[in-house]
């Protein structure tokens, strides 16, 4: 009985870890930032946000499926605020996000991927 409960709890915990999208964190010069993507209710989305004060701008774009075609969304962009989000309603699926930041000193990061 105890073993069955333990297996059930472990399975539940693993399932929770698998369905919650994990944020990934990156660094560009003195700028730290993170990002993740999600898909819910036919909306694909990607978020990029600064996690310290060394960032000047951030971008986010999402890879989504619509009408059986996989597409890259246009990237959101901001340098007025600490984060931006791209929401793509009407999507059938989504699998990746791409995230980029510019540091205050002009260091531009590569595009990083969230899964």
């Amino acid at each position: 009985m105890f073993r069955r409960l333990a297996i059930l709890l472990t399975t539940l915990m693993l399932a929770m870890v698998m369905i919650v999208p994990a944020a990934s964190g990156w660094i560009a010069a003195e700028c730290s930032f993170n990002g993740w993507n999600s898909f819910s209710g036919n909306t694909a989305s990607a978020y990029t946000g600064a996690t310290n004060t060394g960032c000047d701008a951030v971008w986010a774009r999402v890879h989504y499926k619509e009408d059986a075609i996989w597409k890259w969304s246009t990237p959101c962009y901001t340098y007025t605020y600490d984060f931006c989000t791209k929401f793509q309603p009407g999507a059938d699926d989504a699998d990746l996000g791409k995230h980029r930041a510019l540091s205050d000193s002009g260091g531009l990061s590569p595009w990083y991927t969230s899964y």
């Binding site: 999600s38 978020y47 075609i69 901001t78 984060f83 989000t85 929401f87 009407g90």
Partner: protein, 189 residues
């Protein structure tokens, strides 16, 4: 005496209104001027032309986006339509290349600096901020959302971003964000 008072009041009101508009225009012009100085000759000619009068209009922003799309198509990238976001305040596109950054050369050539200025112009000024914040909060509450009371404009933006990412923002909440948001880019229906 009474007529003089009316004339004086009218002049004062016109002056205040003029200062308010001109203050925003001056700030926008200053930002464009400093960008032109900072980037210098590295700024591509088409974007320099759009910004050289120290003013960026919607038509110029739209033209820069369309030029980007045309450039991508000429490069063999399959572009899926011009996309309108946030009730038309932002423009974009989707593309179906396997490389996510296949559009980068065309963005650098036709759009990057123009977009930077355009996005900056969408942010409310300090004077506009409280009015827009109040409308944004009311809209979200009327939509059945629960943003924290007395949120700042940025708090509301973050609420929309996180609720949207979590899949719990209502369609009406998305409509509010389309109307007011600066950082949440939402495709129009």
């Amino acid at each position: 005496m009474f007529r003089s008072l009316i004339a004086l009041t009218t002049v004062a009101l016109v002056a205040i209104a003029g200062c308010s508009t001109s203050g925003r225009d001056d700030a926008a012009s200053h930002r464009i001027e400093s960008l032109l100085e900072r980037v210098g000759d590295d700024m591509p000619q088409s974007q320099r032309s759009a910004l050289s009068d120290l003013e960026l209009t919607y038509d110029e922003y739209e033209a820069a986006t369309l030029a980007t799309i045309e450039c991508m198509r000429e490069s063999g990238i399959i572009v899926i339509d011009l996309e309108s976001m946030n009730n038309g305040r932002y423009l974009g596109y989707s593309h179906s290349s396997s490389a996510h950054d296949a559009d980068e050369p065309c963005r650098r050539e036709h759009l990057a600096y123009v977009e930077q200025i355009w996005v900056d112009q969408q942010a409310p000024t300090a004077a506009e901020s409280e009015e827009i914040r109040a409308e944004y909060q009311q809209c979200l509450e009327d939509a059945g959302e629960n943003p924290p009371p007395d949120s700042t404009f940025e708090d509301l933006e973050r609420y929309v971003a996180l609720a949207g990412m979590d899949g719990i923002l209502t369609d009406a909440g998305f409509s509010c964000a389309r109307e007011h948001s600066v950082v949440n880019w939402i495709s129009d229906p």
